[in-house]
Subunit: 538 residues, 2 copies
């Protein structure tokens, strides 16, 4: 699969340069590319215990994304899914370790154990205090003597990081890390394999299946299971985790393995919160990509049966945005839907002249149905006439319920009737037109000024300008002409409507998709409707 890389041999060094370069000076790296790929905190003065982690790349944001205040001091990066070399690890240790010593946090993979282990010896031979812990949180195969290190590593990074930042000594930081490791379990599930840069993608998981008990290097899961939905998937993962855990309250860490959409991760979070262990969930980290496997469409859940000091350390501030923070879980608050969603029609009042006027306008639109449909067939979907006449009939039917005597209320009421009876964009726009006119009228605008305010609003909402081949081309000149009387308004509307037949490129509405040949010589149906209305009024 095509990827956003330059060359597979440069992907890790390019990515480190991107990470360091975009850190705003928070991160630096050691010279020594391509063999030594070591990211360090740039503000480090060696006055506290240093935390050294790392391993193969492809797990971003782990590990370099967690270098910063209150987290890692340095990350030693290997190539994708490959342990860094002895020299690279030793360089990382030497770069950050002062008198208080350092703790190596190593995931349980042979290459990492050996290279970090020998580097530790070398560093000790140089007089440094170096401890090492091995993270083995995988719950997939509990009977195996050596579990893999997975996303639970983040618990260790954060808790040891907070203690080191607080100035605790190496033995205390090490003991805390070992305690966290002993408690942490992780299990993952994936719907697809990952894409290793420069390699073809393995198609291992059939549609409708998932792999359970994953590592983070693209290796096959412990078993393939039938996949039904997010709920069952989370239940399977949680069930396996609970077997290898106890009944204490836990912090859960919900990790995106890389390629799962944020939308799906939120669905999975919901399932976790409603899973059989919901009563034990007290705190949550994520959902977030923390320890990924490139672009794997999967997730993992890590559980830490905690003691209070873990919580304080997990809540301590950190300097990196890749760390998503931890929240104490609380029941979700459901707020009532506000009053006022359904507008109340003002009480009906009488005004015979306005009643007649509205009815006349509606009759005009009903009479124009066929003509307007025919025009719309040239530039749209042929329903402008029907849409307007349906709305006009509904308005006639509602005449006796309208607050005819109060112009502000009348405008609003017409807007409401139109919004409820007239489909499509034009229905909403006319509803906005009359509602805004009512609003302006209520604020003291005269009848014409109120309509002008409505026009302003539909131009803002709809975005159409004069010349875009819409009803605005007739409505705007008509309303502007209205100050000189209804005849002037009608003439202006007609000129505007007829002008639309010469606009060969529509810039708003459905006619934007129609060719110039079809538009030429035909008025925009909305503009034509406006012109006919004003002509009948005059």
């Amino acid at each position: 699969m095509t990827q956003f890389i330059n060359h597979k041999d440069r992907v890790v060094t390019d990515a480190i340069d991107g990470l360091v370069g975009s850190s705003g000076g928070q991160l630096a790296r050691l010279d020594g590319f391509p063999h030594i790929k070591v990211v360090v905190r740039s503000d480090w003065d060696k006055s506290k215990v240093a935390l050294v982690s790392g391993g193969g790349s492809g797990h971003e944001p782990a590990h370099a994304g967690f270098v910063g205040r209150g987290l890692l001091t340095t990350a030693v990066c290997g190539e994708v899914f490959a342990s860094p070399s002895l020299d690279a690890v030793l360089a990382g240790i030497l770069a950050v370790t002062g008198k208080p010593g350092c703790l190596l946090i190593v995931k349980n993979y042979t290459g990492d154990r050996l290279n970090f282990g020998l580097a530790a010896e070398r560093a000790r031979a140089l007089g440094l205090k170096v401890n090492m812990v091995i993270v083995d949180d995988d719950a997939a195969l509990p009977e195996l003597p050596q579990q893999r290190g997975l996303a639970g590593t983040l618990f260790v990074h954060k808790i040891a990081g907070a203690l080191a930042e607080a100035g605790e000594d190496l033995d205390k930081v090490t003991a805390a890390a070992e305690d966290v490791i002993a408690r942490t379990t992780t299990l993952g599930m994936s719907l697809d394999t990952c894409t290793v840069p420069g390699s073809p993608k393995e198609q291992r998981i059939a549609h409708g299946h998932a792999e359970l008990g994953l590592g983070i290097h693209g290796e096959a899961g412990v078993e393939q299971v039938a996949y039904t939905n997010a709920r069952d998937a989370m239940a399977m993962v949680v069930e396996k985790l609970v077997v290898s855990s106890n009944t204490q309250p836990v912090v859960a860490l919900l990790n995106n393995l890389g390629g799962t959409s944020d939308l799906e991760m939120s669905v999975l979070a919901n399932e976790l919160l409603n899973s059989p262990i919901s009563h034990r969930l007290k705190y949550l980290i994520g959902p977030a990509p923390l320890m990924t496997s490139l672009d794997m469409r999967g997730f993992s859940v890590s559980l830490l049966p905690f003691i209070k000091s873990h919580i304080l350390a997990l809540q301590a501030p950190s300097g990196r945005t890749a760390w998503p923070g931890m929240r104490e879980l609380k029941p979700s608050e459901l707020m009532p839907v506000p009053e006022g969603l359904k507008p109340v029609l003002a009480a009906a009042t009488k005004h015979p002249a306005r009643r007649d006027f509205i009815k006349k306008c509606c009759t005009v639109l009903i009479a124009a149905e066929a003509d307007l449909n025919a025009l719309d067939a040239k530039s749209g979907d042929g329903d402008t006439g029907s849409t307007l006449s349906t709305a006009a009939r509904a308005l006639i039917d509602s005449l006796d319920q309208l607050p005819l005597a109060d112009l502000s209320q009348l405008y609003r009421a017409i807007g409401l009737v139109l919004s409820q009876t007239m489909g499509g964009s034009s229905g909403v726009l006319l509803a906005i037109f009359f509602t805004a006119a009512g609003d302006a009228s209520a604020k003291g605008k005269g009848p014409i000024g109120a309509l002008a305010a409505g026009l302003e609003r539909i131009q803002q909402v709809g975005g159409a300008q004069i010349g875009d081949r819409t009803m605005i081309d007739a409505l705007r000149p008509a309303l502007e002409g209205l100050n000189n009387g209804i005849e002037a308004a009608a003439a202006a509307a007609r000129t505007g409507a007829d002008g639309t037949s010469r606009i060969l490129m529509a810039k708003a509405g459905r006619a934007t998709y129609v060719s110039a040949e079809n538009l030429a010589g035909n008025n925009d149906p909305g503009a034509e409707a406006v012109a006919r209305l004003f002509e009948q009024m005059s």
Copy 2:
């Protein structure tokens, strides 16, 4: 494609419940599922200008992920890629708008404009102060009168959000939002389409191609281009953006469209920082998923030619971790590789007895080459004998360079020779053994105690215990027996080595993959080598 959802009709409501539930009480939602999907700040008291945004779902973390202090007050969510209803928008407005009024931040899509626009009118008719801005940052088709709203919307959210949080009035917040909109441009590129929940994935982009000028709803880009690598991809995007921008310094926002791995996003960040506009880049937001298109493997770059007040607002604290913060770009710091990576061999000294002893041990191992290889063929890859004899020959060759008179230095030197000449895991483990022994010796341990310290270390690093079918099964009893003399040690080593032939399930090393039938009756070659060494010594 299989996805982590329960049903396509429930994906958005499930995801909102997951988001609200995992927010630790920071978020609440309005009652009214499934039609009204409105997420609000739970700490909101209506005392400041409210920010209302939203639109179709599928853009997570936008928009609900940005509800919080200093960002949005509420997000009104539609179904995937569909505008929320008028009622939902109105409910959102009414839920959060107090006397200071509210600003609707709407992306430029017809459905959103109409529904938010009419809801605004309804809210105004109820006496609320409501302003609305339309975000149209798309630079893909600059000649079109109506640009789409894309990831640049985040600039508006953050800047308006900071001003509103600071207590600015509605007109000032609106003016700032309009100013930001006028300045912002965005362009995206993708290598693949997105997967809409419940729909089959469209295979539109051929291998080796990319789409340039993307929307965020899975629609085709403005053009398909040949894709070569990350550098050219970024150059194409930046070139198009620069045309529609000016020459001022900019804040850049690097957005993951959803399915691009973090590793690739860092590569893209590096290319952006080294692109033709690098001299104009002063601040960077991301790389991060901000305005996604489900799982689309793509990215977008948004540029904001800023004024100082924008920077202050973008730097203001916010209450949501989905906002990745903004960093002021600085030249990357390159730190020198520390001294001491290459250990210096202590100066050679003489000690004829030790010289003879080491030579004798090496001769034993060289003589055992064929036997050990034969044993290893039963349980591994048949090279234990060769590996050990190669190392032994190298050690003999180096005898005249060794610091034979100083036991601490000698142990360390042997560790160094082994690490440089002996391949595989066993080479590293023996190097750790001798280096750790040297370290312990230097700290005052006697010769036997020092070797015991080395043993402890390789057990920690390698993870093997007694009974795991490794050289530990002979080495540990031998060292324990050494306190009773070399004969006792040799006898213990032999007992241990022979015992490995009855261990039918290896728990460490390569033999873990070998069946019981092959292991039965054959000693572990590492343990056998240890036994022969001690037998020859005694």
